[in-house]
Point group: C2
Chain length 377, copies 2
Amino acid sequence: MEKIFKELNNLKDKDFSFSKGNILGSMCTQPHPIAKKAYNNFLETNLGDPELFPGTKEIESKLINYLLNLLNAPRTSTCLIGSGGTESNINAIWYMKNISGKKEIIVPDSAHFSFEKIRSLMDIDIITIALDKNFVMDISRVGKKISKKTAGIVGIAGSTELGTIDPIQELSDICYDENIFLHIDAAFGGFVIPFMKGIGYDLPEFDFKLKGVSSISIDPHKMGCSAIPLGVLVVRNKKWLENISVDTTYISSKKQAGILATRSGGPVAAAYAVIEYFGEEGYKKIVKRCINNTKFLMKEINALGLELVTKPILNVLGISLKDPDKVAKELTKLGWKVNKMDRLSAIRIVLMPHVTKKRLQNFIPDLKKVCIKLGEI
Amino acid sequence: MEKIFKELNNLKDKDFSFSKGNILGSMCTQPHPIAKKAYNNFLETNLGDPELFPGTKEIESKLINYLLNLLNAPRTSTCLIGSGGTESNINAIWYMKNISGKKEIIVPDSAHFSFEKIRSLMDIDIITIALDKNFVMDISRVGKKISKKTAGIVGIAGSTELGTIDPIQELSDICYDENIFLHIDAAFGGFVIPFMKGIGYDLPEFDFKLKGVSSISIDPHKMGCSAIPLGVLVVRNKKWLENISVDTTYISSKKQAGILATRSGGPVAAAYAVIEYFGEEGYKKIVKRCINNTKFLMKEINALGLELVTKPILNVLGISLKDPDKVAKELTKLGWKVNKMDRLSAIRIVLMPHVTKKRLQNFIPDLKKVCIKLGEI
């Protein structure tokens, strides 16, 4: 047994990690110690077979209530717990397809690659809307793409590349008037936007307050500071889940919605524990720190003579580069992991809670060195 | 923090559990302590972004090599790591659909409910083949259902209801001759059949030794004694995964196959650690104990005057009852969880490693009491 853990630990040393702080481009983060402890305590539970685990199921209900409240969901709403944003997006398009009987959706050009999976998996036709100068869905192009074939539209609140927020109020009005579904991908932004608003930032509405919003995906394992895998699809009308449910004759529930069958209660207990521990004030503090670090990095990037792709809205920052691939590779050699975004000719830095100011202060000289070496500045 | 864990622990006390030993009908089990430790150590890793975690990725490669070897996979094979059997089955039908361009599959009537999810999610036409007297796919009915529309066939090695094994050799011959795909759902049986063969049981071939077998799903989180969520799809030709891959422009890999994007390395490290710890001999011992307990329970059930649905092949046992629902409910009151199978008018007991002989000896008098009370015996 010792030998096995020695091997595992040696291999682990090869990893970059959130705890070491050298991962700067991921939307995941170090799970809070409370999340780790709760996860471990509930590791063996299976919420895919809920009557076996009524206590864990209660914890899930509490987590669901918290999320419904956070997103201003009406009484008709519920949550479908899954493994992450990709699964939530699949589940969303699945209910749209089955209820509408239509297989065409409209998404912004900035949509997550999970929509390519949806195209390939479900044979959904996807109409892509170009972005405007603010890197959000060009709302003026949306209306003319809606047809009798449209099942629904997807908007993003906190895009994967730049953290931008689509014009959700306008999308909501359009979808409400046209009587089509509107799914909001807030996998990242769901745990950022409400708390930024709470500390005084003027951000647009993105949640169920908008009457046209049908569902929202939100990931506790991103800015919720909980552990992978936990993504949640919140739906305005719980009845919609019946349209993506099947009979489950040999487990304790009668029906099961969504993709996952067997799923651990570990990440659910972890998220609930972290949420209880932080509370609204805790998340506000975390978000404030992340946003302040974003502003700090912005200034430093400008001081180096580099350019941002666009002014950050949330704690995600794109740096325009001539050769992002080369810059990312050189940074890797110095022990830093940033994500490159080829089509924007940029690298992405996500100012997650583990990306502290001190770590940024160590990173900036290395970034400078690399950019000088490669002629970027 | 103390308050939070007190609440969590109080709720956990309401659960049935594998460790308490009162869950008798699940195909999951108590994760081995080594699995728990390894899981915890790798909780924060994300194998959806593999270049960030090259060490954890190496552990995954070792796990993959083990599974390829266990299932006699050829050099062209690889594994797609997912969350469980449902996801593996979806990924399997996804590659079949995309490569063949066809949307009809043939499955036995005993197929897992994940195929109903596949029908609903992917609009796959599913032709169901009736079972023969041994509760396996009636092979005489298969040939005439194959048409130009058929993408492939699904066979089961260790069915969810009764642990039965379809005539896979014959299915393999048919699929090879017809040049259509054959997916084997061995989510449960994959970690049982090879070791039963190893201790001398004469079970039919079900793996890549059969030239018509295209893919196999196998779950380390079932009889592999590892932790949820871990299901693996093993494919004969790694190139097939390209057909269910999308470009992933902002993470470290160029392409990503299958449903999951972000996924923890925890369950991967857990499975590898347990496999290294047990080795072939360890799994043989576990399987031997489970099979012996199955035989013990068989005798006791017969002694009570109850009937089995069919003679168990693996460590899964169906007990025929007039009112399985009532029996299951009364057993719940006495602290036992069995699964009812309405369409077979039976309850299912899965002799997992945590279902020890001692626990069975406690269970049998309670079962007797309940069956007398309800007039089953």
